[in-house]
């Protein structure tokens, strides 16, 4: 017998809210992060095969594109960290009021930009 389990309605039928933007971005950054972690695993594994195999990757990572990717990944991680904290707080039963979801959504969006700057400066030993 064919299984007719219900699927999620398409996102286009909903009116846009801060919460939906944060929720969709949470899924998108989650996918970006796991693709990036896979590439980082390949990068780390290539170290085993010696410096010759590392030259090309090092060239890309030192270019403008490399710096853009690193900064973009920092934002993606920052967003995921803050959004996951928001999810955990909601799992404990807090922050479901409409106004609160708007505020926490905005905190995640703007906080992720701020956290990106802090992480970048920390990583580069500038603070």
């Amino acid at each position: 017998m064919e299984n007719k389990s219900p699927l999620s309605p398409h996102i286009q039928i909903y009116r846009w809210h801060i919460s939906s933007l944060v929720s969709i971005s949470h899924r998108v950054t989650g996918i970006i992060n796991i693709i990036a972690i896979t590439l980082i695993c390949i990068w780390a594994s290539l170290l085993f095969f010696g410096e010759v195999n590392y030259v090309m990757i090092n060239f890309v990572l030192n270019s403008f594109l490399g710096k853009f990717i690193a900064l973009g990944l920092t934002w993606s991680f920052s967003f995921q960290i803050l959004s996951e904290i928001r999810h955990l707080i909601m799992d404990m039963g807090y922050g479901f009021e409409l106004q609160t979801t708007r505020i926490t959504g905005l905190v995640v969006i703007f906080g992720s930009i701020l956290l990106t700057i802090v992480i970048y400066l920390l990583g580069k030993n500038l603070i």
Binding site: N3, S5, L7, S8, R27, G30, I31, N33, I34, I37, T38, I40, C41, A44, S45, L47, F48, E51, Y54, N58, L61, N62, G66, K67, A70, L73, T74, F77, S78, Q80, I81, E84, I85, H87, L88, D91, I119, Y120, L122, G123, K124, N125
Partner: protein
Amino acid sequence: MNLATKKWIFLKISSIVLLPLMLWFIVNFIAIYDSSYLEVVEFFTNSKSKFLFSLFIIFAYFFSALSISEVFEDYIEDDKIKYVANRVLFISAITIPLLTIIFLFNLN
């Protein structure tokens, strides 16, 4: 306790463990991503970095596999496609971190 509840609990536990590991990793990634081969090797051969990075990728893949399987549940109607997608996902979530950890622990 049904399977969906167990999955939810594992998802939440892994996300709590993953949060500090993500923060640790991204700060260190920014510190080393444009460094020389020897500096990056030095980072990955350090016992603390090796241990934390291994833990990070294990939990990242575990968390992602559980999360993405939820997305499959929401958006894939065909049971056969969903089954294959989940198998591919879980096999990748085991083999990619395992191979990376083997390479890292053999790095000198």
